[in-house]
């Protein structure tokens, strides 16, 4: 009501003017009718009514909202002031937009990923269950199915619990579609009920489906259903072929459901997929478990319950099965999902916070400079009775306008930044939940207001801090002026530099650790190596058929023109864990209880080491004859030799290992020692052992192809060979080895790149600040410098004087920043690889870069000061 009157008061005023005019005319008519002359009538009418302007003003004020009107006037005034220095205004808005935009984007990601509750029913009661590894290195280790079974039997703290593991299937070609390798999750019947999710269509499996004898059933992800089956609902109840076997599609999950990860395209029933004898082991750590706590049961109670069970199992069977875990562990499902992303995301958010703070300080600094040049005006206004609040308000409106526009632009920037980020970082957990929502917008508004307050309040308080008269005095003799203000500006500058140094230190550490990471020696050839993965389904391939397939494949791939070498291995370097085994050495005395010897297990063909240029240090590689039935040889890595055969020749010794042959440990004779390779680029090499792939024990293989030049052009011919050998066999993950390794360093690359970008931006801002302050200082001291030069000061002396003056805040800021950087580096310790947090080289480099940039930014104004013409300088007064 009042608001509508406020906005329509201009119309109403025009209306009133007409009304008053009409009144006058009627009055004049009356007087004329009484016989007065028109002139006299007009005079009397006006006299009777009084001032029409006063009436109009009266109603105008009544219709206006005072605070709102004041604000609009302030904003209009601020806009005019800013328009007078468009360069400054645009710069400030741009900087604010970048700062606010980056903060909004990062906040949105942090909020969506780390804080938003999971989209499951009552997510606070969902926990992940783990075992502690024997060596204590992995407090959250994957679990053994036998231990899980005991938990399920003995624990009462849980409403429901479910076990699941990952797997993959070959989805057969049908109706014109190519065969495809898809990732799956094999889960027990309680899996979906425990999470509290229901399918979009159809149903999920129940206890009846989750049995070895049951008919095979599969639940599809929304994505696969849309892409592969065209979103046809009638697929529910129909069958599809997975690994050549018939599965009935019983349900389709909703589009938002992506658990345990976004790669999962189908869910199958665990107890149907995995034979019962494989689900009793107490020491085969390869499953995950999710559980829902009963209402009122705390995590501590639940943990102590399963921990006791694990303890008991260890006591009972630990002597014969030393890999049984000594205890259990647990964490909230949300913590579990986002655990790896917490530190990097918070570090990025902190960095964007720093950038925004620097931006605000910079704007504040520039405003103080401008306020200084308006000193006289302000003093006169104060002397004429302008209230202090009025002046503060003006300053605040200006920064409010700046940051509001910056915030609006920043919001748009953030929108695109998030879009980009989600595209680049598909690996972030809950990536599908990252959206800008009203909380993000509220955050933006809050940050905008805060920035305005920060950038505006410092200069605002500094202008009105002193009595008007003093300022008038001061500004009449400019060479003595502005001491206090200069000190404030230098302080802000030192702060700015300190923050910049912290960012630079962080950026330097992360960049160096990323470079270390990328340059770590994989232990094998990585360039011009192509990898393609395939999996021969057990249904169609026995041991003999696998070996036959592998040999045909190798012969044909090696015959391709352009192929320098080709080989097969079940897991390539950089691909990850790949499985391990406990080994015993019959030639050695038994190990003391509690000690284990573990080595990673690989299967490869005889040409693998040559193909990947892994050096054979001693002994030899396999022969073609060491195959099914006669594959009793093993090759070990250097680290295995060093760890388990210290001071002796391992060749001719044996390893007793169960790698799946008759499901019991068999002796294998060591025939060679090869160089170490890394299973992950970010991890040191582990003891490794290689068994012949031609043993036919596994149908899982990676084709490794090396070429002299562009190896990617060989991808299609190799896939065609696979197709011609088995038209239902899909090939997956066609990547060069460098791409494969790069994918695992994306986190480090992304974070370090962004932080470096932020640090550079801050450095630019800080140097602009330095330049601005010194220029202002030189201007302030123009006449003083003039006098000095006139009295015979050398120009070099002036240069040095000004340079030192300008560099002092930089030096103070640098010292503070190095200190802060040392503290901050402890916080990012977990993100560093191969770099100590207090890396001297980085700190020195940062100091040098900063001083260099500072010197350059100060040099221009200092040089200008030294070139001052004393006559003109003195005439300035």
């Amino acid at each position: 009501m009042r608001l509508s009157r406020f906005f329509r008061r201009r119309d109403r005023d025009a209306d009133l003017a007409q009304e008053l005019d009409a009144h006058l005319r009627h009055e004049i008519d009356d007087y004329v009718a009484q016989g007065l002359s028109v002139q006299e009538a007009t005079r009397r009418a006006h006299l009777a009514l009084g001032s029409t302007t006063r009436v109009r003003e009266d109603i105008w004020t009544r219709n206006s909202l005072r605070p709102l009107e004041g604000m609009l006037r302030d904003l209009a005034y601020a806009a005019r002031t800013l328009a007078r220095t468009p360069g400054f205004a645009v710069m400030a808005m741009f900087v604010m937009a970048l700062g606010i935009g980056a903060n909004t984007a990062l906040f949105t990601v942090v909020h969506s990923v780390l804080m938003k509750p999971l989209p499951f029913a009552d997510p606070d009661h969902l926990v992940m269950l783990y075992e502690r590894s024997v060596d204590g290195d992995y407090p959250f280790n994957v679990i053994a199915p036998g231990v899980y079974a005991e938990w399920e039997k003995g624990a009462h703290s849980f409403e429901r619990m479910a076990i699941f593991g990952s797997g993959s299937y070959n989805l057969s070609r049908d109706s014109g579609q190519l065969p495809e390798r898809i990732e799956s999750t094999r889960a027990s019947a309680e899996f979906f009920p425990a999470l509290g999710v229901s399918p979009a269509y159809g149903r999920v499996f129940d206890a009846n489906d989750d049995r070895p004898q049951a008919d095979a059933s599969v639940v599809l992800s929304w994505g696969l259903w849309k892409r592969r089956f065209g979103g046809d609902k009638s697929i529910v109840g129909r069958t599809i072929l997975l690994d050549g076997k018939t599965y009935t599609v019983i349900g389709i999950m909703p589009s938002w459901f992506a658990y345990p990860d976004a790669q999962t395209q189908v869910w199958t029933a665990l107890h149907h997929e995995i034979p019962p004898q494989d689900l009793v082991a107490l020491d085969n750590h390869s499953f995950m478990a999710v559980a829902r706590l009963k209402p009122g049961v705390t995590m501590r109670q639940a943990l102590s319950e399963i921990d006791t069970i694990s303890h008991r199992l260890r006591e009972q069977f630990g002597a014969s099965q030393p890999a049984i875990s000594p205890g259990a562990n647990m964490r909230l499902l949300l913590d579990d999902m986002v655990h790896d992303f917490k530190t990097p995301l918070y570090v990025l958010l902190a960095a964007t916070g720093c950038v925004l703070l620097i931006a605000c300080l910079n704007v504040a600094n520039l405003l103080i400079a401008r306020a200084a040049s308006r000193r006289k005006e302000v003093a006169i206004r104060a002397a004429l009775g302008g209230s202090r609040w009025r002046l503060v308000r003006e300053q605040l409106s200006e920064t409010l306008l700046l940051s509001a526009i910056g915030g609006a632009v920043g919001l748009v920037l953030a929108y695109f930044a998030i879009h980009w980020l989600v595209g680049v970082r598909q690996d972030i957990a809950r990536e599908e939940s990252i959206h800008m929502d009203w909380i993000a917008v509220t955050f933006t508004v809050g940050v905008t207001l805060l920035s305005a307050l920060l950038a505006g309040l410092i200069p605002a308080l500094s202008i009105s801090g002193r009595g008007g008269l003093g300022a008038l005095h001061e500004s009449s003799r400019s060479h003595t002026g502005g001491q206090g203000k200069t000190r404030l500006r230098k302080l802000l500058l030192a702060l700015e530099v300190a923050l910049t140094v912290v960012l630079l230190v962080g950026a330097g550490l992360l960049l160096k650790s990323y470079q270390k990471l990328r340059s770590s020696d994989m232990g094998c050839a990585t360039s011009n190596v192509l990898t393609l993965r395939l999996n021969l389904p057990d249904e169609h391939y026995g041991h003999e058929q696998r070996v036959q397939f592998f040999e045909q494949l190798l012969t044909r791939v090696r015959a391709l023109s352009g192929v320098s070498a080709a080989a097969l291995v079940n897991v390539v370097p950089g691909q990850g864990y790949g499985g391990d085994n406990i080994i015993t050495i019959p030639e050695h005395p038994p190990l003391p209880p509690g000690q284990l010897q573990i080595a990673r297990r690989r299967f490869c063909d005889p040409g693998y080491f040559a193909a990947l240029q892994i050096p054979i240090i001693r002994g030899r590689t396999f022969t073609d004859q060491e195959r099914i039935g006669r594959a009793d040889k093993v090759i070990i890595s250097q680290l295995t030799a060093d760890s388990f055969f210290r001071g002796e020749d391992p060749i001719g010794r044996h390893l007793v290992v169960d790698v799946g042959l008759n499901n019991k440990p068999q002796p294998y004779e060591i025939i060679g020692v090869v160089g170490d390779t890394r299973y992950l680029i970010s991890m040191p090499p582990q003891p490794m052992m290689y068994f012949p792939l031609l043993s036919g024990l596994t149908g899982r293989a990676v084709i490794v192809v090396r070429s002299q030049h562009d190896v990617t052009s060989l991808a299609i011919p190799v896939q065609q060979i696979v197709q011609s050998l088995d038209k239902d066999l899909p090939v997956a993950y066609v990547l060069t080895l460098n791409q494969l390794i790069g994918a695992s360093t994306i986190e480090a690359s992304f974070t370090s790149t962004l932080i470096v970008a932020f640090a550079v931006l801050s450095l630019v801002l800080a140097s602009v600040g330095l330049y601005g302050v010194l220029s202002y200082l030189v201007e302030q001291r123009t006449s003083e410098i003039g006098v000095r030069i006139a009295l015979g000061a050398q120009r070099e002396q002036v240069l040095r004087l000004m340079l030192l003056d300008g560099l002092r805040p930089a030096v103070i800021g640098l010292a503070l920043g190095l200190l802060g950087g040392a503290l901050a580096s402890q916080l990012i310790r977990s993100m560093l690889y191969g770099v100590r947090p207090l890396d001297i080289a980085i700190f020195v480099a940062v100091a040098v870069v900063l001083m260099l940039v500072a010197a350059i930014s100060c040099l221009v104004p200092a040089w200008r000061a030294s070139r001052l013409d004393p006559i003109r300088a003195l005439r300035v007064e």
Binding site: L16, H23, H26, L49, V55
Partner: protein, 105 residues
């Protein structure tokens, strides 16, 4: 004139039908036999106030001597308000009269 009485008088004037500002002022003066002089400068703010409160509505029309004028018309709410104010005024006058009556003797 007493605070608030102008509003009441304006509303009373409008009971007989719509009128514009000039008429209202003169009617009040005439009816009071020139005892009350309406300060024309405060009439218009009062009219606008009454309109904002919804007691009168306004429209532009032609006046008796064929000039354009803004007419004010009593609304239902205004009529109710007038009744309330009149009775309150009567009570006030009665009370004051009773007080003064004792001194008169």
């Amino acid at each position: 004139m007493l605070q608030g009485t102008l509003d009441m008088l304006v509303l009373r004037t409008l009971v007989t039908g719509p009128a514009h500002g000039h008429t209202i002022a003169h009617v009040i003066e005439h009816s009071s036999e020139e005892a009350l002089q309406v300060e024309q400068g405060s009439l218009y703010p009062a009219l606008h106030r009454l309109q904002d409160r919804g007691w009168v509505s306004s429209y532009w029309g032609a006046s008796e001597n064929n000039r354009k004028a803004k007419f004010y018309k009593l609304t239902a709410a205004g009529r109710k308000q007038l009744v309330a104010e009149t009775s309150r005024w009567r009570q006030l006058v009665g009370a004051i009269g009773r007080v003064l009556g004792e001194v008169e003797g």
